[in-house]
Structure formats: C-alpha cells, structure tokens
Amino acid sequence: MIYLVAAYVFGVLILGGFLALSLSQLRELKARASTKK
C-alpha cells in the first residue's frame, strides 16, 4: 500500500508541479509583455 500511495504522490507532484509552474510562468510572461506595450 505504501508504494501505491508513494507512486501516486510522486506522479501528482511531478505533473501538478509542472503544470502549476508552467501556468505561473505564462502569467508572468504575459504580464511582462503587456507592460512593455
């Protein structure tokens, strides 16, 4: 059971973390682009 939980925790952390970081980077780049305009 411990390996099942650990596997899904790692899976969710990697995928969720990557998705959250990408969205945050996109928001930052958009904000920077709009201030330059």
């Binding site: 059971m1 390996y3 099942l4 650990a6 596997a7 899904y8 790692f10 899976g11 990697i14 995928l15 969720g16 990557f18 998705l19 990408s22 969205l23 980077q25 996109l26 780049l29 958009k30 920077r32 682009a33 330059k36």
Partner: protein
C-alpha cells in the same frame, strides 16, 4: 481566467476522474494486489511521452525542411513535456518494481532503454538551454530530436526482443479483464489530454519568450550603447 487556465482545470478534473476509477472501480489484481494500480498511470504516462516525442520528431522534420519557427517552438514544447512524462514513468515504475521484483531498479532492457530515452531528450533540452539561440542551434537540435526518436520503438519492442524482468505488452495481447481495460483506456485518454494541454501552454510560453528580447541580447545592446565613440 484565461483559456489556458480553464484547459488546465479541465485536465486536472479529468485526471481526478481517472484517479477515482483507478482507486474505486478497477478490481484488485489477484497476484500483485494493491501495487498493480500503479500500472494505469505508469503506462499512460509512457504512452503520452511517446506521443510528445513523436511531436518533437514531426516538428523537427518540418523545421529542417521549412525553417519554420513555429515547428521549432512546438518541438521545444513537446520535448520538455515528454521528459516530464518520462520522469513520471520512471519514478512510478521504480515504486511499482520494489514490491513486485524486490528492487527499485534492474538493468532490464525496457528500463535501460527508457532511461536512455530520458537522457537523449534531457540532452536535447540542455542543448536548447546552453547553446546560443539561433538557426544553427535549432538545426542541430532538430537532428537530435529526429535521431532521438529511434529509441522509442526500441523501448516499445525491448520486452519482445530481449528477455528480462519487465512484463510484455498486456494491452495488445488482451490480457486485461474488461474493468481494468476500461480504467486503463480512460486514464490513457485523460493523460493524453493533459499532455496536449501542457504542450499548448509550453508552446505559448516559447512564443512569448521568442518575442521578448533575450537578456543576453539586451546586455549586448546595453554594452554597445555604453561603448565610447571611436576617436577620429
């Protein structure tokens, strides 16, 4: 809320639905018991990674032919998502192997070729990050992206070409009962959707980064501006 945030939210909801099927609908495996539930996301992530590397192959081939900046951006976006999905495959596979094989890692053909795949595309990303951006780097990276894909069929067929610990293909050989097959198909569809959303977001990020002046060029412009006028 932007279009990308909505798409990401939908992808997360679909993955939660797949998780509900994995934990509450799919029956427990008679031999492997609870750890067998790792299989659903482990294999789905591997298939989604293959799809991403196929996009890298397509984007790289189009770039070499037409020098289209869009194709190059798509290849860059898909390579990063492919590496993230391969990391998920490897980490989940190691945690699946421990209770079944008694070890986290063995130099089995499937495991080794998957690690090689991860190294090839991590190298592709390093090349993009460290080399001076330009046509020459993009061309070189496109060649790496095309030749790197050679490892994908090697990973897929490794279980039939060489004998090892890793089980053979269970989906195409109809080895799964209907409830497990349904759960796997739903998880795979949701993971592919999540991968497509991630590639779309990364593509938008690459576009914005290409449009923005790079810090390196800004530094050069600044240095040129500070350069004293040559004496006449």
């Amino acid at each position: 809320m932007t279009r990308y945030t909505r798409l990401a939210g939908l992808a997360v909801l679909l993955m939660l639905a797949a998780g509900a099927l994995i934990f509450f609908y799919a029956p427990e495996d008679y031999l492997q018991k609870e750890p067998q539930r790792i299989f659903y996301l482990h294999v789905s992530a591997a298939i989604a990674a293959f799809a991403c590397f196929a996009v890298v192959l397509g984007g790289s081939a189009v770039y070499l032919r037409t020098e289209s900046a869009r194709a190059d951006r798509l290849a860059r976006a898909a390579a990063l998502v492919g590496v993230v999905l391969t990391t998920v495959t490897l980490v989940m596979g190691m945690l699946y192997a421990k209770p079944i094989w008694g070890t986290f890692w063995t130099w089995d053909a499937r495991l080794t070729s998957t690690l090689v795949l991860w190294i090839i595309y991590a190298g592709y990303l390093l090349l993009r990050r460290l080399a001076e951006p330009g046509q020459q780097t993009a061309r070189f990276a496109a060649v790496v992206g095309i030749f790197g894909f050679v490892d994908v069929p090697i990973v897929y067929f490794s279980v039939t070409w060489w004998r090892g610990h890793h089980p053979g293909p269970v989906i195409v050989s109809n080895a799964l009962p209907p409830e497990m097959l349904f759960t796997f198909m739903v998880t795979m569809a949701c993971t592919l959707f999540l991968a497509a959303v991630m590639v779309a977001i990364r593509y938008r990020i690459e576009t914005l980064m290409d449009e923005a002046p790079s810090p390196a060029s800004a530094h050069l412009v600044g240095a040129a501006a500070r350069e004293p006028e040559p004496a006449r």
